[in-house]
């Protein structure tokens, strides 16, 4: 499988993401934001974590206008599979590829720790290898992860099974982490080809790192 990982000034998870997908025997290309075309053979496009353009103005707001983003919009609208992790999720929101917006964490603290997540929906290509209700342990590291959507938007997410992950405790009870509406940690679009999440699966791929639940999630992507 061919994975393309975007790189903006300030991106800092591109090599972790490359390492994780190479561990799964994928061909990974890191693509600089000034390029105007995605590689033709891209099976999965990943917008990785970091602080694109220093998160100035708002997280993801400036990256949205990078040269490569026209090609990303076209790829996504033609059904191409897109994964946005952390800052990548913020960029997808700013680009209008996913609904809602990110606010500063309710605690106003940067949160960096392992946190449990509950699989809310798995009837999509991304989480097909995980069970409904399964609890996984994946690190989070963000300052602006407080997901906001209005009531009508939330209703639509629920009706279309677009909420894929929620923050929870180790027993799977849904728990607030950062103030997100309905404790949402990850969503997909209505067509289910674009997935954004705040936690970092690429940082939990070996037990040496504390947990390898991330690889369980990413493995599911191999059958996209």
């Amino acid at each position: 499988m061919n994975v393309t990982v975007l790189q903006f000034p300030g991106t800092n998870c591109e090599y972790d993401t490359k390492y994780a997908f190479e561990k799964l025997a994928c061909n990974v290309t890191i693509l600089w934001h000034k390029e105007i075309k995605l590689p033709e053979n891209t099976d999965l496009l990943v917008i990785p974590g970091g602080f694109s353009y220093g998160d100035y103005l708002r997280s993801g707001a400036i990256a949205r206008f990078a040269n490569i983003m026209d090609s990303v919009q076209e790829y996504a609208k033609n059904g191409g599979k897109v994964l946005g992790i952390c800052n990548g999720f913020q960029i997808l929101l700013e680009a209008g590829l996913l609904p809602g917006a990110m606010k500063r964490n309710a605690s106003l603290n940067f949160i960096s720790k392992y946190n449990h997540l509950k699989v809310i929906n798995n009837d999509n290509c991304f989480l097909q290898k995980l069970n409904l209700g399964e609890v996984i342990n994946i690190p989070v590291a963000h300052h602006d992860g407080n997901y906001y959507i209005d009531n009508d938007g939330l209703k639509q997410l629920e009706e279309n099974n677009q909420i894929l992950l929620k923050y929870c405790n180790k027993d799977g009870e849904i728990e607030n982490l950062n103030g997100s509406v309905a404790q949402i940690a990850g969503i997909c679009n209505k067509e289910k080809n674009i997935f954004g999440l705040m936690p970092h699966p690429e940082r939990a791929i070996e037990n040496l790192l504390g947990c390898d639940d991330g690889i369980k999630m990413l493995e599911g992507f191999l059958k996209l």
Binding site: R58, A61, G100, A101, K103, R104, A106, L108, G179
Partner: protein, 81 residues
Amino acid sequence: MKAIVNVALKQGVLDDQGKATHHALDTLGFKEIVKDVRIGKQIILELNSDNEKDAKTEVKNMCEKLLANTVIEDYSIEIIG
């Protein structure tokens, strides 16, 4: 000519920064006088323009495209000649 753009979270969207600051002001002894705190940002643009109306239209365009996230934020524009 100058444009001053103020951007803040919409009424109805919980302003966590404002809430935390309100709490701190309470602790500092300003509890009686402060009813609510909202925090926004100010963006000051120096413009090459002498037409106030056109300038305002252009700045509005900038706000819609980049300066504000209209999903959660409101903005106001003041043009200073």
